[in-house]
């Protein structure tokens, strides 16, 4: 039903693309149209590192209808390395291993199964605990 809506977010969902301000260097995510008073080229597309840390999290056992079959699942507010905070599911982890401040990294996963006749599989970003620290 929301095929076009998902397609419009392909840069955000698949590439993890945000925007960088061409003079200040500020990063924003998700990308958005120019705000009033901004020029169309003030913000340029940029692919983010996909690194961040957990600001807070929950494990949800009562979900909205499209996600009911996936419960329980973990959700987090994630502070990205570039500054912005986002909301995303956590994956490849157990609840007892999660903690505030935990380093996480972005992975592309199925966000949810199709719930109506369009059969659309919605893929996008989730985050998992960083598997190994760079040494």
């Amino acid at each position: 039903m929301n095929l076009a809506k998902h397609w419009r977010q392909k840069g955000t969902y698949y590439l993890f693309q945000g925007q960088r301000h061409k003079t200040t260097g500020e990063i924003r995510f998700p990308a958005r149209p120019p705000m009033l008073g901004e020029r169309a080229d003030d913000w340029l597309p940029t692919v983010l590192s996909g690194k961040g840390e957990i600001y807070s999290f929950t494990v949800l056992r009562q979900a909205a209808t499209e996600f009911e079959s996936a419960t329980p699942f973990a959700l987090a507010l994630i502070r990205l390395a570039e500054g912005p905070m986002i909301t995303a599911q956590l994956t490849d982890c157990a609840e007892e291993d999660l903690f505030i401040g935990q380093p996480v990294e972005m992975v592309t996963r199925l966000l949810r199964r199709p719930t109506d006749k369009d059969g659309v599989l919605v893929y996008g970003y989730k985050f998992r605990p960083v598997l190994s620290s760079p040494s």
């Binding site: 809506k5 977010q9 955000t12 998700p30 600001y55 807070s56 999290f57 929950t58 494990v59 949800l60 056992r61 009562q62 979900a63 909205a64 209808t65 499209e66 996600f67 009911e68 996936a70 699942f73 959700l75 987090a76 507010l77 912005p84 905070m85 986002i86 909301t87 995303a88 599911q89 609840e95 505030i100 966000l111 949810r112 919605v122 996008g124």
Partner: protein, 392 residues
């Protein structure tokens, strides 16, 4: 602002009304409110119908509720429309109706808060509420409002060094007060021990710290100063009204634990009423979870940041405390009635200001504050009500 008086109130019992329709519930509340102005005035004197509803399309399969309910009430022809601002719909509708009366556009209007939630199963209810978020970047990832409050609760516990059971006094107070409200969804008490053992819903939020969405309808009749005088009664007045907005996405806020719109709406409403926080005797807040009440109390300047759990543990949020909340059960015991909540709050606070709140009566309550939030504070509406005898 010109004086606006509340000349009638009515509500239907909050519940899972499988046998009843949306219009049936709304008309019960409207009939009850009309009794307050009979026999001097009747239905035909109502000049506007302001319908508050958050999720009619998703849960009740009915939009266009202004004309729908005007017709159901036998008021076809009058001005009627639906106001939607998620969980803040009731407060926003009340504000629009208040402004219409204050501007002299109408001298008697009805605010109808209505939510018919239980025709759909829980998954759709969660979806309906989740659409109050920035859907592409929140709901589409599986977030619900409960999950958002849960994440704020975990962050709060982390930041201030508490454990989850410090929030028990909030639902314990709500349930204790709900026992006395014949229209409350849950009329039984709970205690801290039961809270501690309750099943997790969205960790660290447990079942006894999560409100239940249910069906409900409430009505407030607003009149101009002139009409209120003709009616000869001393009525509760709306002394101040404020509305503010914040980012739709919770993650876009620089300080997620600060409900900035809630704070600004209180400042506006108090400023308009020429009153201060110290004048407030009783409050109704958006308190589906203890963390929501705590953040509202702190953000709005009633309690210092990080202190709300200790403040609640001292009994300060009970009817005999300094900042009584949820005196009719709040979201937890009265029930979360979606877009109707802001109207229920007014019905409940008018009872307080008239000294008719029974065992949950706050002694000498003269000034009340009602606040409802849409989403996690993306819209905040605050109203200040004053008792008839209070000359402000």
């Amino acid at each position: 602002m010109q004086h606006v008086s509340i000349v009638g109130t009515g509500s239907a019992p909050v519940g899972e009304h499988y046998t009843r329709t949306l219009e049936d519930l709304a008309l019960e509340a409207l009939s009850a409110a009309l009794q307050d102005i009979a026999p001097a005035l009747d239905l035909s004197h109502i000049k506007g119908l302001y319908v508050a509803n958050a999720m009619g399309e998703v849960l009740a399969w009915q939009a266009h509720l202004g004309a729908f309910l005007a017709n159901a009430a036998g008021l076809s022809g009058i001005e009627a429309f639906r106001v939607e601002a998620a969980g803040a719909s009731g407060g926003v509708a009340l504000r629009q109706a208040t402004l219409a009366v204050a501007a002299g556009v109408a001298d008697l209007v009805a605010v109808v808060g209505i939510e018919k939630a239980t025709d759909r199963l829980q998954g759709y209810q969660e979806l309906g509420m989740a659409l109050a978020t920035d859907s592409s970047f929140e709901a589409e990832h599986g977030i619900t409002l409960t999950a958002q409050w849960a994440m704020l609760m975990r962050r709060y516990l982390h930041q201030y060094g508490y454990t989850a059971d410090v929030f028990a006094p909030f639902p314990v107070n709500a349930h204790a007060n709900g026992r006395n409200n014949p229209h409350a969804l849950y009329r039984f008490g709970i205690n801290a021990e039961k809270y501690r053992k309750a099943t997790q819903v969205a960790s660290p939020l447990n079942m006894l710290d999560c409100a239940t969405l249910a069906d409900g309808a409430a009505v407030v009749l607003l009149a101009s100063e002139g009409l209120a005088r003709e009616l000869g009664g001393n009525y509760v007045r709306i002394a101040g009204s404020g509305l503010a907005t914040d980012t739709l996405a919770l993650h876009a806020r620089s300080q997620p634990l600060l409900l900035d719109a809630a704070r600004r709406s209180v400042d506006q409403a108090l400023g308009q009423a020429h009153l201060t926080r110290a004048d407030i005797d009783v409050l109704e807040l958006t308190d589906p979870h203890g963390i929501a009440a705590a953040l509202a109390l702190e953000s709005c300047g009633f309690v210092e940041a990080g202190q709300a759990p200790a403040y609640a543990a001292e009994g300060q949020i009970t009817p005999t405390g300094n900042t009584p909340i949820a005196t009719a059960g709040g979201y937890k015991a009265r029930g979360d009635v979606g877009g109707a909540t802001g109207v229920y709050q007014i019905v409940e606070l008018v009872r307080q200001l008239c000294g008719e709140a029974g065992p949950a009566q706050v002694a000498r309550a003269q000034v009340a504050l009602a606040q409802c939030l849409g989403g996690v504070g993306s819209t905040a509406v605050t109203h200040i009500l004053v008792a008839p005898e209070k000359g402000v």
